[in-house]
Symmetry: C2
Subunit: 345 residues, 2 copies
């Protein structure tokens, strides 16, 4: 897989069903690719050549330059800060404090972020914030840890910090180069856009995205420098699972239950990626309609089918492998379930 | 169309595309039916025989017994209260006050509701509530107006009010009978489930749902009593558009811009219905994956294609006909657009 190819016209397979009573009320189509570090597709469902914006699922790759520039060591960033650079966090107080601390350490502050402000995704934290008379800041943006990492690299390299989200800024140039190297693609003519947090997004084939994840999981073929950076990021995600996501989140739950076998990261619009060090494989999936609920269940199911979970880990992850559907008042009304194609993946 | 039929296996057409930069990032499939009051399908896309839970899109039909039992007149309910009975409101202070007033008038209170509590969907109202140190109540549930109407009918008929959400309660028996009459279907063996607000949902074919909406819009064939009730509900929705939805909402915007030609009501899981009095037609659509953003744009586009909007109305509704996609910081990043099949509907 060495060039950007057009997606096929065929409908994607149904991956996830939403069942109310005994009736399938809604369903989500999508595609899944499992690849090895050589770029070979080990298993797949749907079109692995389709182009996807990986969005936040790419954060562990976008964080490689933070280590490779020397900024992480220069500023003494530990596992928690590196995990935050790979995170879509929920804006809990410990996330906000850690991002603020990174910014203080590099001599900057909240106002230097260019990601924009949105309410904490962790609802109790949002409620506490409002009850205290405060308003959401850029620190609460789920991408603030990644952005603090971008700024750390810029400061360390004595680059201007303003406009660090623009495509021609050295920070984004390094990120784009890293994505090209990790996917093995010439991305010069790949479609581009702007992510929700303002940075560039580059469309890559789903299979190449899975291969990039496999190269994180099995970095033997990478240069020594990158190999060390990849290992350090994956170690950080396992060491600080709550930093990568947050309380009650599926990503944190999987990282906590199965830290040896799985690293995973969702993105907006139904993208989800995983690096599986024990198997030397990478996973990338995209729900056609962008549905996050389906991406989460599809990833949990794929990991389960790949044998990533021991019985006690499966039990701990039951709420994510067999998610129920409740009424507002808390009665069970149905469930989400993997569709047949995914159940036999 | 007289019996519940199984949906086909073919993939639904793509109705809505999510475009980031110049690339289609995600897309939503679904089906649309436009019917007349005789049950004939005037226009369609996708499978009109598929079974759907209409969810809250059915509220104007679920509210017919409120008038037909005599409860609405008995308790002196006006346009605002009838519009609320058809509403998925946003929990703004004026919604909450009006529902509380209906409950007080029938001698009941918030604790008699069985819909459960959730935060107001109108974000500024939620923020104000928390800043005041209050918590969401059942009055903030988007269905509280419908539930107050259910209770009004029960009180008027001297039925027990407790368990009014259960399938065997007279309130729900009347609602089920009304749905059967308006769809023209024998629903004895139709699949059932429980809605988010706790009441029963009954699966009906999409085309029959559109026909039921057409019978609201063009009630000439209905009995005198029902005809008057249908007219009164549609008049109430046009007279109190903010009660049906809320500030900033697409439903309120359309009811405000085009009160003569359109009544419309969305439901959960990507269902959207409309009654078009000027054309004597009904519309029902379902997004396969349940995506509300797609249901909204699909309905706006269908109404536009059916000629429901004069030029100045189209201009007022531009934010809903051509919705932009923004970054968190407010820069334009793309747009939602109707797919070709819908653009030429």
């Amino acid at each position: 897989m060495s060039a950007v190819t057009a997606p096929s016209d065929e409908a994607s397979p149904v991956l996830v069903e939403i069942v109310r009573g005994d009736t399938v009320e809604s369903f989500h189509r999508g595609a899944v690719a499992v690849a090895d570090a050589a770029g070979g597709i080990a298993r797949s469902l749907g079109d692995v050549h389709r182009l996807v914006f990986a969005r936040s699922a790419l954060k562990p790759i976008q964080a490689l330059p933070l280590i490779e520039t020397g900024a992480a060591d220069g500023f003494g960033l530990g596992a928690a800060e590196l995990a935050l650079a790979c995170a879509s966090h929920r804006g809990e107080p410990f996330h906000v404090a850690a991002v603020a601390a990174v910014l203080a350490r590099i001599g900057l502050g909240e106002a230097d972020l260019e990601c924009g402000a949105h309410p904490p995704r962790h609802e109790p934290s949002y409620r506490a914030l409002l009850r205290a008379g405060d308003a959401p800041s850029q620190l609460h943006n789920n991408c603030s840890g990644k952005h603090a990492g971008f700024l750390a690299a810029a400061v360390w390299r004595r680059e201007p910090t303003r406009f660090y989200i623009e495509p021609d800024h050295p920070v984004q140039q390094r990120v784009a180069r890293t994505i090209g190297e990790m996917t093995g693609l010439d991305l010069a003519r790949a479609p581009r856009g702007r992510d929700g947090c303002g940075i560039p997004v580059i469309a890559v084939p789903l299979g190449a995205l899975a291969a990039a994840m496999a190269r994180l999981a099995d970095p033997a073929r990478l240069g020594e420098h990158r190999r060390a950076a990849a290992r350090r990021l994956l170690d950080a995600m396992a060491a600080a699972p709550l930093m990568v996501d947050g309380t009650g989140g599926m990503t944190s739950a999987v990282l906590t239950a199965a830290p040896a076998s799985v690293r995973l990261k969702p993105g907006a619009e139904g993208v989800f990626c995983a690096a599986l060090p024990a198997l030397g494989l990478g996973v990338a999936l995209k729900i056609d309609d962008g549905g996050g609920r389906a991406a989460e269940l599809a990833m949990a199911t794929v990991l389960d089918r790949l044998g990533c979970f021991a019985p006690e880990q499966r039990a701990a992850l039951a709420p994510f492998l067999m998610p129920p559907l409740h009424t507002v008042a808390g009665r069970e009304a149905g469930r989400l379930r993997p569709a047949p194609a995914l159940r036999s993946f």
